[in-house]
Symmetry: C2
């Protein structure tokens, strides 16, 4: 056990889903893609308490149905199996049967109950899973040579340019707790890759309802605050598995360190969310919009998402144009009540709007600031005490290229 | 008077805001732009009953406040004065004073009450109106050589590539009624040009409340169904002036030909809306999304707008990619309840999804269809009797270019 100070949340270098005790992971090439890994798993030594959040898209893919139904049985799963390349969405009754079979073959291989296996797919919409390849992959995937968190991280990617992982550790009840995660997501690129998947593991001891509440709260503040292109896919899912191996007292709202756990979970999810935003299709920059002074958290998040979602803001930042009017305009149509004469906006440390009116600034200095790879927009609403951060990326020629001309 | 058959709505070649009796219009170059016309007016012989719809953006520009306040006095105005190049938005108390002065000088020039003049600005946000240029323009604008609907149409443009006008005629109570309109709008391009302005004139005899109700209903089905980039500007406005010169019986819901008037107004507004969509920044195609079988008009419009607003749908059509998964995905996140297994989608006459599942089609044939300048997407929800159409454009490299690199 590493020595960490109580309540201090420490990042773990190269950490991921196998940082917490009692988890392993791996990935294999089973032939769904030309050469890249395309089938991955995460496995807990014991059934782990599991929380999940899922896409609100009504064309929800069959694997999401199977996974939600399975978690509902005991609120626990032991393993997750993920394939890339084929989303198994809009595939009807055959698609549902395939998802069940994918679950079953991995459960048999592991010797666990079917409902202890979650299945997830990401890739082409409207195409059936090549089940022979999946089944052959499952037979070999547990071999030691395919083990490793990075293999899992690679196997779940679609148009992503890099793997995405993060892990933290902190001490609660004198026990070291770890939280680790992996994610994929870059854009719902053709032919309709699912936007985002997140898998979080922890060895914390926590009951299902508390884990679900924590995941919901943290997801609203992290994964739900990123946007690449505003399209909510059919396959989005974040699963969190807690196997209790850290042996702490059960975590809940009455535990004195409940907030430490929440903060640890948020650190991992925020890190993964930012990595997804930065890796947005065609992105050259990560944009962070920080909203303060809102009357509620909901209002702060709505204003942040309006700004980060604006194509005009995104293209202006791509072009390093300090075009504050577009930011103000987006604040004005966010749907939340604002008082225009109280709104101030800064680009990094450069104020551009004070109390609803433009203020003088050096265009050159502001444009130079926007040349950075990580751009911060600060919005002060001066109406209340609530705040939020939204993450996104610029809109470049390459976004259009990736999404318009992939076939040519 | 032209001979038109009762109730038949006939388009007027090259018609516009001066097609109805008792209206004139004009435009002048007053120096706000380098060489293009930049100040325009519409004038009725007599005060005209006026209805208006305005942006919901909370950073509403001062001229909109002045115009709404003025119309409220008698529900009538006689003239509209519009400048391009400077939006007079985010300009504080000075901006409000400038809008009042702009109104006053034109009212003096015309010899009418201040509150009978509406003022509108479109262009740069955060810049004050050059009032000397505006005042000098107003002094000369009524000269005969500056008269003409096309001069008005040109003076209100920003990044638009063409003027936009439409007019229709029909007979009610044995009287010829004309409705004509002009509009501008291309995108909220830098530095923050207002998205859209519409000016409709008619010689119909109609009370204010009925005209306002008609405009609201028709706007929801036309101007509110277009999207170029999803950004709602600070200066959007549609004004409709009815001067009663046609001398028909007052139009209201109990008039047997009320629906004819509504249809005439809708024809003009839909024509202008489509022209704005087709002239979207960087657009190469007009896209029309036709939604049928919805449980309500609101649901039909929400689904249509979700599809037409999707960057992924827009880029796919730019790339002539029959990527139906993106259309289905957008339907699924529209916020309206749909039954996925009932949804069918066609590209023109080519079915691509039937009852929620993909159907075989020729990729080549579908891709060829998408090469047309006017692309129709048909969505059948099979849930009810309501329908709607949404208009938009594709998302091209030029959209990014226009919005990212205008300075370079």
């Amino acid at each position: 056990m590493q020595a960490v100070k109580t309540n201090e949340i420490v990042g773990v270098k190269d950490g991921g889903v196998t940082t917490p005790l009692g988890f392993k992971a791996g990935g294999i090439h089973c032939g769904l893609r030309k050469t890249r890994l395309d089938l991955g798993y995460v496995l807990s030594d014991v059934p782990a308490v599991t929380a999940g959040v899922y896409t609100t898209n009504q064309f929800q893919a069959p694997p999401l149905k199977v996974t939600q139904e399975s978690i509902a049985v005991e609120k626990k799963i032991q393993a997750v199996l993920v394939n890339s390349a084929v989303a198994n969405a809009c595939t009807g009754t055959q698609g549902l049967a395939d998802a069940y079979e994918m679950q079953q073959v991995f459960a048999e291989e592991l010797g666990v109950a079917n409902h202890h296996v979650a299945v997830t797919s990401t890739g082409l919409i409207g195409v059936h899973l090549p089940m022979e390849k999946i089944k052959s992959g499952v037979k070999n995937i547990l071999a030691e040579k395919h083990e490793g968190a990075v293999n899992f991280e690679e196997a779940i990617l679609t148009t992503d340019t890099t793997v995405k992982h993060h892990a933290v550790q902190f001490e609660i009840d004198g026990k070291l707790i770890s939280i680790g995660g992996a994610a994929k997501g870059s854009g719902m690129i053709h032919p309709n890759m699912a936007t985002m998947l997140g898998f979080i593991t922890t060895d914390a001891n926590i009951a299902h309802d508390n884990l679900q509440a924590a995941l919901r709260k943290v997801t609203d503040e992290t994964f739900n605050m990123i946007t690449v292109d505003g399209d909510t896919s059919t396959n989005d899912m974040v699963l969190t598995l807690a196997n209790g191996k850290a042996d702490n007292e059960p975590l809940n709202e009455n535990h004195p360190d409940w907030d430490v756990f929440l903060q640890g979970l948020k650190t991992v999810c925020a890190s993964l969310a930012k990595k997804i935003a930065r890796d947005g299709e065609g992105a050259t920059k990560l944009i962070e919009v920080h909203v303060k002074g809102a009357t509620s958290g909901t209002a702060a998040r709505a204003v942040g998402k309006a700004v980060i979602s604006s194509n005009l803001v995104k293209t202006a930042i791509y072009g390093t144009d300090p075009n504050w009017g577009r930011i103000v305009c987006a604040i004005g149509y966010s749907g939340e009540k604002v008082e225009p004469e109280k709104v101030s906006v800064s680009l990094g440390e450069i104020p551009v709007v004070i109390n609803g009116l433009p203020c003088p600034f050096s265009e050159e200095e502001a444009s130079n600031y926007l040349k950075q790879e990580n751009v911060h927009i600060y919005v002060e609403l001066n109406q209340g005490e609530h705040e939020a951060t939204a993450w996104g990326c610029d809109l470049s020629y390459d976004y259009v290229k990736i999404n318009a001309s992939y076939r040519t």
